[in-house]
């Protein structure tokens, strides 16, 4: 099912949580809404679900306007961060709930419900636990039950709100892989919210990076990591070193020196690069020339704090642990990949 969000605005007590957001989600896609807290990602998910109504704009399910349909009518599957299982029901009753509350005409017979529940239990690899109550399950198991419960109603779209947020790191990794397999097998259109970029990059077909109620960039993991479209995305995804520069005559300048990078445009700008993605040089005309002022050991590298231009700028770079540059006070380098964003005004 294609889902299309068109010029949607959501205000909470006059405070805009979403500002004119548009997004097309293709059928069968696995999409991550990624952003810091307060970026509006959960609000967007709840609007798609129908748990909140947009102040302005439209939400279309397969070309049909669903903006004014109730949650119940939208037929979506929603998985909550804290599972939201019904704790007075067994695992089987939880999973079968969505089928049991259907109006009599649409409700499958009891044996059919039992069969579906059995199938879903098998799919979430919890067969044999159908008589347990939620409080007798681990966090990871509960979240899988929540997922099965959402899948039982054959939703048109599966929406997950920070599904792994309440789990510990190991279970989180396992479930991440499991969800990817699950999606590949069932082919449901799936949207999940996360603030964990690693999770978003690893899991999603496309990542929607959000900030302050707006979409900053939509793209594959490669797109948002290698070709970030704004300073925010560059800072938010992966690690970034940045320095104030000037563009002039097709070159990037730091103060009064060129650094050997080509750029079109004129005026003040900020240069971004990845701390680990650079080459160290021995002497140069036209490169970054800095003084090492600090050094920290990371797991697989040594992170140096380097002052450029006589102390006016400071950047971080990673060098191999055994590289002699780490021991010296001065060094030269040039980023392999970089982005320049003009500074407005």
């Amino acid at each position: 099912m294609d889902v299309s969000v068109s010029h949607v605005t959501k205000e909470f007590a006059r405070f805009p949580a979403l500002n004119d957001v548009s997004l097309d989600i293709h059928s069968g896609e696995l999409i991550a809404l990624l952003g810091p807290s307060g970026s509006g990602k959960t609000t967007l998910l709840r609007l798609i679900a129908g748990l909140d109504q947009p102040t302005d704009g439209q939400i279309l399910f397969g070309g049909e306007d669903a903006s004014h349909k109730s949650v119940q009518e939208r037929n979506i599957g929603f998985v909550f961060q804290h599972y939201a299982l019904f704790r007075h029901m067994t695992v089987a009753e939880n999973i079968g709930f969505g089928l049991k509350v259907r109006p009599a005409a649409a409700r499958p017979p009891k044996t059919e419900i039992r069969r579906r529940v059995g199938e879903l239990l098998e799919m979430i690899q919890l067969s044999g636990l159908e008589k347990r109550y939620p409080n007798q399950l681990s966090g990871g198991q509960r979240q899988r039950v929540a997922l099965a419960r959402a899948m039982a109603i054959e939703p048109r779209v599966l929406l997950l709100d920070e599904p792994f947020g309440a789990l510990d790191a190991k279970v989180r990794k396992e479930l991440r892989k499991w969800l990817r397999d699950f999606h590949d097998r069932t082919g449901h259109t799936t949207v999940f919210v996360t603030h964990d970029q690693e999770e978003a990059l690893e899991l999603a077909d496309r990542v929607v990076v959000m900030s302050q109620g707006r979409i900053e960039q939509v793209g594959s993991a490669d797109d948002v990591y290698d070709r970030p479209s704004s300073p925010f995305v560059h800072r938010f995804i992966g690690e970034a070193s940045e320095v104030a520069v000037r563009m002039e005559d097709g070159e990037v300048w730091i103060d009064d020196r060129t650094v050997g990078l080509k750029a079109d445009g004129n005026g003040p700008a900020r240069l971004f690069f990845r701390p680990h993605d650079l080459e160290l040089l021995t002497g140069c005309g036209g490169c970054f020339e800095g003084v090492v002022v600090g050094s920290r050991r990371l797991a697989g590298a040594r992170r140096l704090e380097v002052e450029l231009g006589g102390g006016r700028h400071r950047v971080e770079i990673d060098v191999p642990v055994d590289h002699p540059a780490a021991m010296k006070s001065g060094l030269n380098f040039r980023p392999r990949h970089w982005r320049v964003f003009p500074v407005a005004g």
Binding site: L51, A84, V101, Y133, I153
Partner: protein, 285 residues
Amino acid sequence: MTSATAFKRWRVKEPSIIPGFGLTLGFSLAYLSLIILIPLAGLVWRASSLSGAELLAILTDARTLAALKVSFGTALIAAAVNAVFGVLICWVLVRYDFPGRRLIDAMVDLPFALPTAVAGISLSALYAPQGWIGAWFAPFGIRIAYTPIGITIALIFIGLPFVVRTVQPVMEEIDRDVEEAAATLGANRFQTVFKVLLPGLAPAILTGFALAFARGVGEYGSVVFIAGNIPYVSEIAPLLIVIRLEEFNYAGATAIATIMLAISFAMLLVINLIQAWSRARYGHD
């Protein structure tokens, strides 16, 4: 050496690293004995001065049976009514914000604070055949005051805060998520309330019911004014005890008291067992 091992064998295993278990447990037991157990034991001891035949005679006395029936019957009905409408009031107080909400919230506690005799007198004035409310029912031949209906109304008044104050904090804790989950699964409001929310509240409602019931069985002050105290019809067991005392029939009074104690204890035990069962099953805290 031997005394040391004997001492060791005597020691209760401390269940926690927090110090002072022995002291606090000792204090709690001494306090409970003083306040509750010794008076109750005195009651049973007093009743045991009767021979079995005498006791049976008092218990099977038609007046005693009628009084017990009135007491437990009205208390049960009142507690049931309170369980329904108390939950409704909780819902309004927890879920909606409206001007005067805090005032109504405070009003719920009034039956706690009001001297029960005051409540009894004003209720009997209201529900008497000439009273403001009683006058509406009198033309249809429905008498409220001076019948078991009046007793039930007094007990509803007295028991309401027990249900509200027990259920309210639990209702406030309900996760919004659970309701939203039910909605995304296609449940309408009715189904959400009756299949998801109320079962989750059941232990709290049951506790409130038990408290209101226990209070209703023992209530005296508010009831004697509205009951009319007609033997075999609207005479409650606590009143019968007082009457026996005034006749200097102490044995008779304690016998009735003891049987009330036994019935109340049995009913509260059953309710607690139901709760323990639900706690073990659903993991309620």
